[in-house]
C-alpha cells in the first residue's frame, strides 16, 4: 500500500502565459508509450508480480522503490500540463465564445472532456493502455526492458524539451531528465550485477550529456543525479546492494539517500477556470459550503492544505520563480 505526501517532488513555476499547444505535446511524457504512466505502471506491476522476492530481495527493492518515485512523476507532468492550460479560456460559464480561443488547439478534449486538465493520453491523444506494461516475470528480461524503457523515455524528454519553451515544461523536463537518468543507470547496473555485462559504455543514450541542459543544472548541483531514495519509511533497505559504484558519465559514487524521499515542494493551487466549470461554474459556492463544513467539523477556518501560493508568508512563490528563471 502507499501513503501520500501532498507535495511535488520538485518545484514548478506558477502559471504564466498559457500554452495549450505545448501542453498537448507534453502529454507524450505522461501517456505515451515511453511516458511516466509507463514507467510508473511497469515497475509497479513488476513488483506486484515478483516471485520469490526474498530470493532476489535487492532487485525487488530496487524495482519497488523506483515504482514509488514514478508516481511523483505522473503528478509532476500533470501539474506542468495543468499549469500550461491555465488561462487559455476566459469569460463566464455558458457564454458563447468562451472557448473559441482553443477551438483549434491540438487536443480539444483538454477543454471539452476536461476542465483545462490533464488527460491520460499521449501527444496524439491516444490513451495510455495496460499493454504498455511489460512484466515477464523473468528478472533479467524485465531489467533489460526497464533499461530500454528509460532510454526511450530520455529520448522523448529531450525532444519535448527542445519543442516546448514554456517555463513549466522546461522545469519539468530539466528535473525528469536528471531523475530518469538515475533510473536508467540503476537498471543497467542491476543487469551488470546479475550478468557481468559491462553496460556503462552505453551512456549517455541518446548521446547528449545531461549537463548540456541548463535546466538540469540545479538538480545536478544538489546531487540528484547520483542517488536513489527508498520512498518508504520502513522498506526497501536492500537497494544499496545493487545501486552503487561509479556513475558512468561523471565517475562519482552512486548512493542511496538517507532521507526517505526528496524534501518536495508545495504545488501551486491552480486558479479556477469558470469557463470550463473547474472546479465548477461558481467556485465561490464551493468555497462557502467548504467553509461551513469545515466549521461544523471543528476544523480551522482557513484551509489546512499547504500550497505554494497561499500567502502564508513563506515566500514559496518567489523561491520557485527564482528557480525557473
Amino acid at each position: 500500500m502507499i501513503l501520500r505526501i501532498d507535495l511535488l517532488q520538485t518545484e514548478l513555476p506558477p502559471p504564466s502565459d498559457p500554452d495549450p499547444v505545448g501542453a498537448a505535446a507534453v502529454q507524450e511524457l505522461l501517456g505515451g508509450k515511453y511516458g511516466e504512466m509507463s514507467t510508473f505502471m511497469n515497475y509497479t506491476y513488476q513488483s506486484f508480480n515478483f516471485r520469490n522476492r526474498q530470493g532476489a530481495r535487492p532487485f525487488y527493492d530496487l524495482v519497488a522503490s523506483i515504482a514509488a518515485e514514478e508516481f511523483g512523476h505522473i503528478e509532476l507532468v500533470s501539474a506542468a500540463i495543468n499549469t500550461m492550460l491555465t488561462g487559455a479560456t476566459e469569460g463566464k460559464p455558458g457564454e458563447l465564445g468562451d472557448l473559441s480561443a482553443v477551438k483549434g488547439v491540438r487536443n480539444t478534449q483538454h477543454f471539452i472532456a476536461g476542465g483545462a486538465g490533464t488527460l491520460v493520453q499521449d501527444s496524439n491523444a491516444k490513451p495510455w493502455n495496460g499493454d504498455y506494461v511489460f512484466a515477464s516475470g523473468d528478472l533479467i528480461e524485465d531489467l533489460t526492458h526497464n533499461f530500454f524503457l528509460e532510454t526511450g523515455a530520455r529520448n522523448n524528454k529531450l525532444k519535448v524539451y527542445e519543442m516546448v519553451e514554456h517555463p513549466a515544461a522546461r522545469a519539468l523536463t530539466g528535473y525528469l531528465l536528471v531523475r530518469g537518468g538515475v533510473h536508467q543507470v540503476a537498471y543497467a547496473r542491476a543487469l551488470e550485477k546479475l550478468t557481468g555485462a559491462d553496460l556503462m559504455k552505453l551512456f549517455p543514450s541518446p548521446r547528449i550529456p545531461t549537463d548540456l541542459i541548463p535546466e538540469c543544472q540545479p538538480h545536478i548541483k544538489r546531487g540528484e543525479h547520483l542517488k536513489l531514495y527508498r520512498f518508504s519509511p520502513s522498506d526497501f533497505a536492500e537497494i544499496k546492494a545493487v545501486f552503487n559504484g561509479p556513475h558512468p558519465e561523471t565517475g562519482e559514487d552512486l548512493f542511496v539517500a538517507d532521507e526517505v524521499s526528496p524534501e518536495g515542494a508545495p504545488p501551486f493551487d491552480l486558479p479556477s477556470q469558470p469557463a470550463v466549470f473547474a472546479p465548477g461554474p461558481e467556485p465561490e459556492m464551493l468555497a462557502e459550503v467548504s467553509a461551513k463544513l469545515r466549521k461544523a467539523a471543528g476544523l480551522p477556518a482557513k484551509p489546512t492544505g499547504v500550497v505554494a501560493n497561499n500567502g502564508d508568508g513563506k515566500g514559496v512563490v518567489d523561491k520557485v520563480k527564482d528557480a525557473v528563471s
Copy 2:
C-alpha cells in the same frame, strides 16, 4: 508524491489449487472499466487536476486520500490473481509440455507474456486504457461519476464473487466489497453536502446487503465499513468535514480513523515458477548473486523484507488460513 509500505491492506490466503480460469475472470476487477485501475486512476487524476483546491479543500482531501487507498486495491487484486496462477505450470524450463496444461485457459498471455503474472487487462483480455479516466474538473460532476463508478465496481465484485470460488478470490472480494462500499457512501455523502440531495436511499446498490456475504463479515466486525483512512502522515485532515453522519444501511456513525492506514498484512512470497522463467529459469542463481551483493553492501545475511511465509515464527500463515476458512 507517495511513500510505499510493503504490506497488503488485508490478508490473503497462501496459494492452494491453481485456478487460471478463475484468475482470468478476476482480471475484470483489475483492468475492467469498473476495476481498481479505474478507481485508482480516476481519483488520482481528479486530485491532480483539482483547481482551486484550497477553496474546496475537504473535497480535495477526500478524493486524494481515497486515491491512495486504491493503490492498495490494485496491489490486492494482483496478489490474488498471482496466487491463483501459482502452481498451474510445472516441469523444467524449456521442456515440451510444461505449459500444455494451460493451453486452453481463457487468458494465455498470463503464461506467454507474463510469468504466471497479472496483466493490466480485463476479463476479456482487453487492456485498461486512460480514457476510462473521467476528470471533468467540475466537482459535482466528478463526484456523480465517482458514485456511479463505485456502483459499477460493486456490481462487478458481487458477480466475480459469485463466479469464482477460489479462496484468494473470496478473500479479495470480501474485503473489496466492504471498502468499496465505504467509498460509494463517501461520494454520495459528498454530493449531499454540496447539493442537499438525499442520496442515501440509493443504498445498497445493487440491492444486496453487504452483510449477506460471509466473506465480508470479518471486516464488518472490525468496523471497516464505517471509516476512511487518511493514507497520509501529514495531509488530508479535512476529510472529516465531508465524511460523517450515519451509514445508510446500518445507521452507525461514519468516521475518519485515527490510524493513518490499516495495519496491513505481509504478502506471501509466491514461489518461483521455473517453467515460465519467473523470476528466472534458475532462481537459485538469482539467490546466490543476491546473497553476495547483500554481503558486499554490509546488509544482513538473510533478506530484510517481511513476507507472510518466511518462517519467522509469527504464525502468519496459520492466521491467514483461519481468516479465509
Copy 3:
C-alpha cells in the same frame, strides 16, 4: 428521426437450454466488422452524409430505408443472444457459486459486465467501433462497399449457422440470410443501374444457394427474398426506381412491398435472472413499484406492452414453437 415499433421483425423461439458459448459466437453477427451494427451504421451514416440527395433520390431512398431495416437486425441478434444466455445462471443473488457454471465461457463479460445480456462486441469480445463505417460520400464507391459488406456478412452468417445449433441461433440466421440476401442484391442492382456493369453473375456469394438452408425456407415461401420495405409511413417512395428486375438466383421479380414494414412478432419477455441482478436482485420489488406507479398514472392494472408470452390467450408461444421446430 425514427419511430419505434416494439416488435421483432420475425419470430424467435422462446428460451430453451442455455448456450453461452454459442452466444459468444453469435456476437460476431452483432458487433463484428461484418455484423449488423456495421450494416445499420454504415447505411445510416451514408444517408446522413448523402449530398445532393434530391439529385440522386432513388439511391438515397434505397440506402436510407435499408438502414431502417437494419435496426431491426441488431434487435433480432440481441434477442437471440439474450435467449441463449437465459438460464445459464441460477441461485440467489450474492451467493457463492451462482456463476461458477459460466466461469469458463468464452465471454465472461456477458455475466460480469452485463446481466446475461448482449454486448456490443464481436465473437472475440472486441468492441464494435465507428471506423467500421465507410461513408466516402461517393455514391458508386459507397454502393460497391455495401455490396461487399453484405457479402462478408453473408459469409459470417453462414458460418455461424454451421457453428451454433441452438434454436434461437438457427431461427436468427435463417431469417438474416434471406433479408441480407435482398440487400446484397439491392446494392448490386443499384450499381448496375449507375454503371451498366452486370453484377448478377456474382450471386450467390459465397456460392451456397440460400435455398439449401432449411431455416430459410419459411421466409422464402413468404417471398421475403424478393421484396424491400420502405420502413417509413411517409418517405422513400423512390426505392422502386432502383429495386426491380429479376432476382439473380430465381429469376422472380423483385418488388417494393405495399406494407410499410413486415408484420413483426412480439418478443418473448425473457425471464429475470436474479443471480446477475437482471432486472434486479429482487424483481418482485420492481413489479410492485411499477404496479403502484401505473395505478397512480391512471393506467390499466396489467402491463400494456405486448410480448409473446404474456398469457393473453393469443397463443403466441405455440405459434413460435411451431415455426422453429
Copy 4:
C-alpha cells in the same frame, strides 16, 4: 423495429461559411464517450436486454422511447457537422490544390476518408466503440448510469457551445441542451420513483441554468423542456407512470406529449462537393440516371423527397434563418 421519418427533429440553418475546425470539435457530441452515439446505443441496448419488462413496464417504456429520440440526435449532429463542412473545398475533382485549404484542419479524414462528411469519431478522431455501452441489466444501476451519462453529455454540449460559434453548431447545441435536460430529469425521476431518493437538488448539473443560453429559448418557449414523446405510434404508453411531477428547475409539470413525435423539419439538401466526389465527381450524371430511373418506374419527374431548400415556395429557408439569427 423502427420506421424512419425523413425529417430532422428541429430546424438547422443552411450552410454558410464553412468551419471545418469547428466541425472537428462538434464530433465530440457525436462519437465522444458522452456523445449522442453513446446515448442512442446505451438506451437501445438497455431496452434490448431488459428482462422481465412486463414486470417493470413503465421503466422499459421510458428507456426504449428515449432511445428512439436519440436516433434523431445522431442525425442532427451529423447534419450540423455536414453543414459546417460544406464549402470548405472547391475546384474540379482530381485537381491539384482543391483540398489544400483543409490540409491543416484538425480532422483530415473528414475530407480524405469522407466526402466532407461526418465520421463516427470524437473530437480527437478516436472512433466511438461498443464498450461505451453500459447495460448491466440491473435497472437501478442502469438508471444511475443514464443520469450520469446525461450529466456528462450536458457538460460537453455546454463546452462545445462555448467553443464553436458557427450558426449550425449554435442551433444544434441550443436544441440538444434542452432535450438532453429532459432526459437527465427523466432518469433522475425514475430513480426517485424506485428508491425514494430525492435527486432533484442535483439540478442543473453542471450548475448553469439552461435559460442562460439564448439558443435554448425558442425551444423552452415551446415547452420542449417539459415533455417526453413516445416516438411510437403503438407503444410505450406507460412512460407517464414515471415521467411526471415538477421540473426541478422551473417547477412546471412534466408531461408526455400527445403527439407521437416532434413535428420535425425538413433538412437542407446539402450541395454536392465535387472536389471530394460527393456524391460523385460528376453529380449531373447521377441526376440524369436518377431521372431516367424515376421515369421508368412511373414516378413523378421531380424528386419526391422533402428538403428545406427545394424551392417549393413554403419558405423553409427563411423560417430557419429567422430561427437561428
Copy 5:
C-alpha cells in the same frame, strides 16, 4: 520468403521545403484503412492462407505477386513522408527551441517518437492494425474485397493528391494512382474470369480518368498502367492466365512484363537531422565507426550502397528533378 532490392520502384524528388503538415496527411496512404499497409498485408496474408493453391494456381500467383509489389509501395510512401519531414527541424541536439517550429504540426510523434520519420499510422495518427486484413479464404469473396480495397485506396490517393502539393507527394500519388489502377483492374478481371460478371463498366472508380492527372503521365507513357510484374525470379508464372484482355479505360491489351520487376531507382540518402538524433546527435561519430569497421572487414573505403545523391557522377539528382518538375 523474399529477397530485397535496395531500390525504390520509381523515382522520388530530393528534399525541398519541408511540409510536416502535408506529411501527416500522406500518412493516410500508409497506415490508413485503405493505405498501402492494408494492400500489402491483405494480399500477403491471403496468399499465406490460400488453400488448395495448386487447384487455383493462376489466382494464387496473382494475389501473391501483387503482394510483393505492395512492399514497394509502403517503401515509397515512407520515402515521400521522410522527404517531406526533412528540414523541418534545425539547431543542435539538446537545444531549447530546436523543435519549436513543429510544436503545432498535426502529428507531433513524427518528431517526438520518431526522428523526422514515418509512423505506421493514418492521417489522424491512429495506428494501422491487423484487423484491417480481410482473408476469408473464399477466393471470390477475397477478390471482391480486393477490388473494393483498391477502389477505396484510389479514392484516398486522389484526395491526398488534391490536398498536398509538395513535390514528393505529387510524385508519389502520380505513381501510385497508376499502379493501384492496374491492381484494381486485375482483381476485377479475376472476378470476371471466375464468375462471368462484367465488371469493366465500373471503371474508373472514382470516376476521374487517370489521364487527367499530369503526374500520372510519365508512367502511363511507359505503359505502367497495362502490365503486372511477377516480382519473382522463379515463381508466379500463371498470372498471365488471369491478367489479360483489354484495359477498361483505354482498350489496350493488358500483359505480364518480361522483366521480373520495374527497373527501380536509387533512393535519396536523406540527410541527418541532428535535432531529433537521427541517426544520432553526432552523425560523424557513426561515420567514423562505420569506416573503421568497413576497413577491418576488408570492404572498400567508400560505402557500397547505391543512393541517388552520392556524387557518383551519374546525375541521378538531375534526372529526378526533371521527372517531377
Copy 6:
C-alpha cells in the same frame, strides 16, 4: 522493393491432427507485441527511416537485411497455424453442425472471419498494430530496442514451445529460436561495435541454452545459429563489418553466408476446407476454371507452382516427416 521466392525458409510438417486451441496460442508469435509482425515491421520501418545511411552503411545493411528475413518468419508462423487449423471442420458447406466442433475454441474468428486461416492477431485475439513499431531514428537506441525485442521474442517462443506440442508448432519454434537467436546476437554485437559495451554476457536470455531444445538441433547442426544471409542478390554487402566475432554461447565464429538466402523448402499445399468455404464451397469449380484459363494462356496443363505434396516424386513429404519426428 522485394522479390518473392515461393518457398518457406525451412520445412514444416504436413497437417496431422488439428489443434485449433494450440493454433490460437501460436498466434502470439505472429501478432503479439513480440511476434514476427513486430520484428518484420520494426526493422523494415527502421530501414525506411534510416537517415544518412551512407554514413552508417554497415548498420543500415544489417537492419535492412534482417527485415527481409523476418518476412519469411511471418510466412512460417502462418503456415504453422494454417497447418494446425486444417481438419478442424468437416461436412458440406452450409450444413448445420459443420463447425460445432470449433464453437468453443479460443479464437472463433479463425473459422468465422477466416477460412481456417491465420489472423493478424495475438494469442488473445488482439490485432497487431502499428504502434508496436519503434523507429526513433537514433541508431544506438533502435539497436537497443531491437536487442530487447528479440529477447522478448525468444521468451515468447520458448513458452509457446512448452505449451503447444503439435508437430507444426514444434518445428516452427525449433527453427525460430535458432534464427531469432542469431538476430539477438547481431543487434548486441552492433551495439558493442558502436559503444564498446560488452553485451555478450547477457546471453542466453532467457537463460535457457538453445541446445537444450531438441527441435533446434537440426538447425544448429547446419550452422544456422552462426550466420546471417544478405537476402538480396545485389545489396547489403556491409553486414559483415558488424556481424563477426565469436558467438557468445559457443565461441564459434559468426559469419555472413555466401548464399543469398537459405535454400528453402516448398510449403505443403494445404487442402480445401469446404465447410469454411476455403478456397470456396466448391473447390472443383475453381480448379476447372483455372485449368481452362491456363490452357487459354498457353500454360502447361498441370499447375506450375512447386509445393511439398504435389506428387512430383521428389519425396518432400517423407523428408519433412523425418525432420520433425
